[in-house]
């Protein structure tokens, strides 16, 4: 499988756009989810992730097969997400005095709020609340803790892969994960005590 991916990458390096589209098909869902967890807007997540793919195509010659393609690609994606958030913060500061009621501007929860399929209305409400609280708690984390925790617990990457993506030592990643988990626990004490 990986050998096959190596061959595809070699074709991409020779300028084969069809080969690159094979990689896009393979990683587009992951890329969209990661971008969405930062942007909280599906349209923006699409734009940022597509931009990341195009940048990856342009700079594929810099990719050396020392690491996996997706860790290299996620690094590009995360950097573009960071740029996106910076721009967003700037715009927020500019529009601080203007109240925006536009529905599209609202940040969405990263979790699916499941109301149906749960035994009673109490559980359904609890689950809905939990999704919203969790999103809020995640947003309140320091940027690096949030990034590392999201990549680990929401996107399921390994600690060494996260270290490669954010260019940090594995020990630092573990420290961030520990602190982020404790911070979340404090914010979700009510839910953490209960059996969900």
């Amino acid at each position: 499988m990986i050998d096959n991916e190596d061959q595809i990458i070699q074709r991409v390096k020779n300028g084969d756009q069809n080969a690159f589209c094979e990689l896009v098909e393979k990683y587009k869902d992951k890329a969209l989810n990661i971008a969405f967890s930062f942007c909280r807007n599906h349209e923006d997540a699409k734009d940022v992730s597509q931009e990341a793919f195009i940048k990856a195509f342009k700079t594929i010659k810099d990719f050396r097969s020392e690491s996996r393609f997706y860790t290299w690609f996620y690094r590009i994606l995360i950097n573009l997400c960071k740029d996106y958030l910076r721009r967003k913060m700037k715009n927020k500061a500019i529009n601080a005095n203007i109240k925006i009621n536009n529905e599209a501007q609202k940040e969405e929860s990263i979790f699916e709020i499941i109301a149906s399929g749960l035994p009673g209305p109490k559980e359904q409400l609890l689950n809905k609340e939990l999704g919203e609280q969790l999103t809020e708690a995640l947003d309140s984390l320091p940027e690096q803790q949030k990034r590392v925790f999201t990549l680990k617990n929401i996107h399921g990457l390994k600690i060494n892969e996260i270290a490669e993506i954010v260019k940090c030592a594995e020990g630092t990643i573990k420290a961030h994960l520990f602190k982020a988990t404790l911070n979340l626990q404090e914010k979700l004490t009510v839910y953490a005590r209960q059996e969900v």
Binding site: D29, H42, K158, G171, K174, F178, T181, A192
Partner: protein, 221 residues
């Protein structure tokens, strides 16, 4: 009081199942004895579980549809766009190289070179026009079907004028020598008549002067 040697980072790796089996077993045993680490691990596991139980919001179909096709189109558009700037870049690089290779002290040399080229071109043009004239004449002869030697060619104009001039000079020279020879002959005849054939040059010239005077005198009379 027990001194705990386990680092918190190791507990994180334990919770995420990212320890090698040997180390994992060691920590497992440690957790039985160390209540502090056990509690810490339980708190971590609970929060992780809480987050992992949540499902990510699904991506809407309209976002996923045509996703790859749009990237393909963007790549094609960028490739098209990048052609002109690349060409421009090459041109600028070439001009820059040209600028770097410019030496002001070579300007007079270049000017002289240009003048020489112009002179050479002018001369070549003259030659070419002469060749054209000859070609025209040959074409004329072909159409007339006559021998080239008997026909006056416009291209021979200069040569012909020169030949005429030189033949004129020969005729004049001949005429001059004939007149001179005739005069000498006449003088000799007069002297023969006078019986003074054996005169030397000085005497002869004296006689000739006398003869001239007589002739002038007779002409006057």
């Amino acid at each position: 009081m027990n001194i705990c040697s386990i680092k918190k980072e190791e507990l994180v790796s334990y919770c995420y199942g990212e320890l090698d089996s040997g180390r994992r077993e060691e920590i497992k045993k440690h957790l039985i004895d160390c209540s502090r680490c056990r509690e810490e691990t339980q708190r971590l596991e609970k929060t992780i579980l809480l987050v992992r139980q949540q499902k990510l919001k699904p991506i809407p179909k309209e976002i996923v549809n045509n996703y790859t096709q749009e990237i393909r189109e963007q790549l094609a558009a960028q490739e098209e766009k990048s052609f002109v700037p690349a060409l421009k870049e090459k041109l600028f690089a070439w001009l820059e190289n040209l600028r770097l290779g410019f030496y002001p002290q070579l300007v007079p040399v270049a000017a002289v070179f240009c003048v020489l080229i112009l002179v050479f071109a002018f001369m070549q043009y003259g030659k070419i026009s002469n060749i054209n004239l000859v070609n025209q004449d040959i074409a004329l002869l072909d159409t007339l079907g006559e021998d080239a030697d008997d026909v006056y060619l416009s291209s021979d104009e200069a040569q012909l004028a020169e030949e005429i001039e030189s033949s004129d000079r020969i005729i004049l020279a001949q005429l001059d020598s004939e007149v001179e020879a005739e005069e000498v002959f006449d003088d000799t005849e007069i002297l023969q008549e006078l019986g003074e054939e054996d005169l030397n040059e000085e005497e002869l010239s004296d006689y000739l002067e006398i003869i001239d005077d007589i002739e002038v005198g007779s002409a006057v009379s």
